[in-house]
């Protein structure tokens, strides 16, 4: 058959279809004037520039995080004050009648859940910024610019679209890989997707960066560096997988760029809400459940801890001391270790754990964490790095199981954990060499 047609039949038939389309268009379409240079063309000269494209993308990303970090702070403080007030109220009002309930309300609900809900403003701000970038048509350009680099490295160009979606949440990002034709390209893209820092990790960065750097530009830069590190690691791991486990050439692909437009406020707000509401739902259900578990484990046995005051006598302390040795080389205490453990379920739970463990009704979780002195700038930064990399959350594992064979999912869980230890060690090592503690 190929002999008859002289070429692959699939190619020949596609060509013939395009010929038929040209015949139709000849009779149907007439252009009144020659194509002018459109607004989109002019902007693309800048945004898709070979040399400037990537710096522009990084600069915009940096602006997004500084915006997120600085504009959300006053709103976060307001939520913080509200929960502190509520916690104090619960302690005063309920304590005499029912000390266990009082401890639950103030230490568990207000401090634990409150510490997570404080991050509503930054998360919504981030989604707002991303929605604006997406709706105006820029995000597709960012994908294109990154593609060009990745394609040169032998990676599939289509991969970056799901990866940019991963800044919001890895779950839709992994589902978006369905448009990748080549199965190997698809597996690689899914495997590295959890390295793209999702919004659930943002609270951890904001909390720790705030504690170790204060509310300076350094904190915003530290948060930004997590996203950069995520991208760099994703590209690096994809390259390694391409060279070792999933050898082959990337399939050629075409990325169509949408035209630029001024985003409609309604669409942007809707967009932000659609994504942000998952954070609220998660906080209200899953994270809340985790916080209740942490509160229970940190308050009981009741007599020994006297309502969580002497936390060292609690079940959770016993568990924390058990796993602490694994993390001791990084300089993290048992509380930080426990937070990482619960972070397996959802990364926001790391913050929730700190909230419940510090349990201070009157003090905000960031000030409490700062005065506890659990992190130095170096160990705190290493902690952020570890949270970025280690283990995709349970929900991501769930969607991976739907899209990949179990052995690949197991592999993804393992390699991210190993990579987290390696990179965090490097951070600590480099820090020590530079004379940091």
């Amino acid at each position: 058959m190929s002999e008859v047609l002289g070429e692959e039949p699939e190619v020949v038939l596609a060509e013939r279809r395009y010929e038929a389309i040209s015949r139709i268009l000849e009779t149907v379409v007439r252009k009144r004037e020659a194509k002018k240079l459109t607004f989109t063309d002019i902007l693309d000269h800048v945004f898709l520039h070979r040399a400037l494209g990537i710096p522009i993308f990084l600069a915009l990303l940096y602006a997004v995080f500084q915006f997120t970090f600085s504009f959300s702070a006053p709103f976060s403080d307001m939520i913080d004050m509200f929960f502190s007030w509520l916690g104090g109220l619960a302690e005063e009002g309920v304590m005499p009648a029912n000390p266990v309930l009082a401890s639950f309300l103030s230490g568990g609900v207000c401090a634990g859940l409150g510490s997570v809900l404080v991050f509503i403003p930054p998360i919504f701000m981030l989604f707002l910024a991303l929605a604006i970038l997406e709706d105006c048509g820029y995000l597709a350009r960012a994908a294109f610019v990154m593609d060009r680099m990745m394609y040169k490295l032998g990676l599939h160009g289509r991969s970056f679209i799901p990866m940019i979606t991963g800044f919001g949440c890895n779950i839709p990002a992994i589902m978006a890989t369905r448009s990748i034709e080549n199965e190997k390209d698809r597996i690689i893209t899914i495997l590295v997707n959890p390295l793209m820092s999702c919004s659930a990790r943002l609270p951890v960065y904001v909390l720790i960066a705030g504690v170790i750097f204060g509310s300076s530009y350094a904190a915003g830069a530290a948060v930004f560096s997590m996203y950069l590190l995520g991208i760099a690691l994703a590209v690096m791991m994809a390259l390694i997988f391409r060279r070792t486990l999933l050898k082959g050439l990337p399939a050629p692909f075409v990325l169509e760029l949408p035209r630029y437009m001024i985003p409609s406020p309604k669409s942007v707000i809707l967009h932000m809400w659609e994504r942000g509401k998952w954070f609220l739902i998660k906080a209200g259900t899953f994270i809340f459940a985790v916080v209740v578990v942490i509160w229970t484990l940190s308050t009981f046995p009741w007599g020994a801890t006297s309502g969580g005051e002497i936390i060292e006598n609690s079940y959770i302390a016993a568990f924390g001391h058990l796993i602490e040795p694994i993390f001791r080389p990084f300089g993290w205490n048992w509380q930080a270790a426990v937070a990482l453990f619960f972070g397996f379920l959802a990364k926001e739970a790391v913050v929730g754990t700190f909230g419940a463990l510090l349990g201070a009704g009157e003090e905000a979780v960031d000030t409490a964490l700062a005065s506890a002195g659990w992190f130095t700038p170096l160990t705190g930064f290493a902690y952020m790095v570890f949270v970025l990399i280690y283990f995709p959350c349970v929900a991501t594992i769930g969607i991976m199981l739907k899209e990949l064979r179990p052995k690949w999912v197991l592999f993804a869980a393992t390699y991210t954990l190993v990579l987290a230890f390696i990179v965090a060690f490097i951070v600590i090592g480099v820090g020590h060499m530079m004379g940091m503690e």
Binding site: V12, I24, A140, I161, R178, I180
Partner: protein
């Protein structure tokens, strides 16, 4: 109830049109690949209930990518009453490729010529009646962002579902050499009546010639498979 499927290339405003038709607020992005799973909504027009399914955006209907397969399987297996093919009027050359594939599938196609405002803005003139005539299906200009033409589209869909739209079967010729091959394969396929009643024989023949893995798998059980393979080999 009338079952309507929406299909089109990525980022032509398909989901936006879906939201217009159903009153739902599905996530719309200026970005290809926002819809990866099919979404369903309802629309009532002139007392008729329509179930509207938003399929993933695709350029083609091959078996290579999962999203294309999802879209194709839906049309082949579920056989919706009407398939609304949303076409970006500013880029007909690329968009009509999918339209031709849908016609090959013998789907009950209504073309929504979307981004009609941009077509005018860019000074492109499209003879809508001529296009409709050449494709053999109704063509309705729409602007999903403003809702312009959406009522006319609903009307066309309703008419198409009730078989009132004038429609003729257009067979797009592949040229003598390919047509001869298609005819030969088709001749064997029509012998298997259960197969040819389920799928359009010409479409099966074309897919077999293209060595489409999914279609080949479906045909392998046919008692005439050996005969088909014999023809395909030559």
């Amino acid at each position: 109830m009338i079952r309507v499927a929406l299909i089109g290339n990525p980022n032509v405003g398909k989901t936006e049109l879906f939201n217009r038709l159903t009153g739902l607020r599905q996530h719309v992005g200026n970005w290809p690949g926002v819809t990866v799973e099919k979404k369903t909504g309802k629309c009532i027009y002139k007392g008729e209930e329509m179930e509207i399914v938003d399929l993933p955006g695709t350029y083609s209907l091959t078996a290579h990518a999962i999203d294309e397969l999802i879209a194709r399987d839906y049309i082949v297996e579920e056989k919706p009453d009407v398939v609304v093919d949303i076409v970006d009027g500013t880029n007909l050359e690329r968009n009509l490729y999918l339209t031709l594939l849908l016609l090959e599938l013998e789907a009950n196609v209504v073309v929504a010529l979307n981004q009609w405002d941009m077509v005018n803005e860019r000074g492109i003139e499209i003879d809508v009646n001529k296009l409709s005539e050449l494709l053999g299906v109704p063509v309705v200009p729409t602007v999903a962002t403003t809702g312009e033409g959406v009522e006319a589209l609903k009307e066309a869909v309703l008419n198409a579902a009730e078989g009132r739209e004038k429609r003729r079967k257009v067979v797009m010729g592949y040229g003598e050499d390919v047509e001869a091959l298609i005819k030969k394969v088709e001749a064997v396929i029509v012998k298997d009546t259960s197969l040819s009643s389920k799928y359009p024989p010409r479409w099966l023949a074309i897919k077999l010639l293209e060595r489409d893995e999914e279609v080949t798998k479906r045909v392998e059980d046919s008692p005439f498979w050996d005969e088909m393979r014999e023809v395909l080999k030559r």
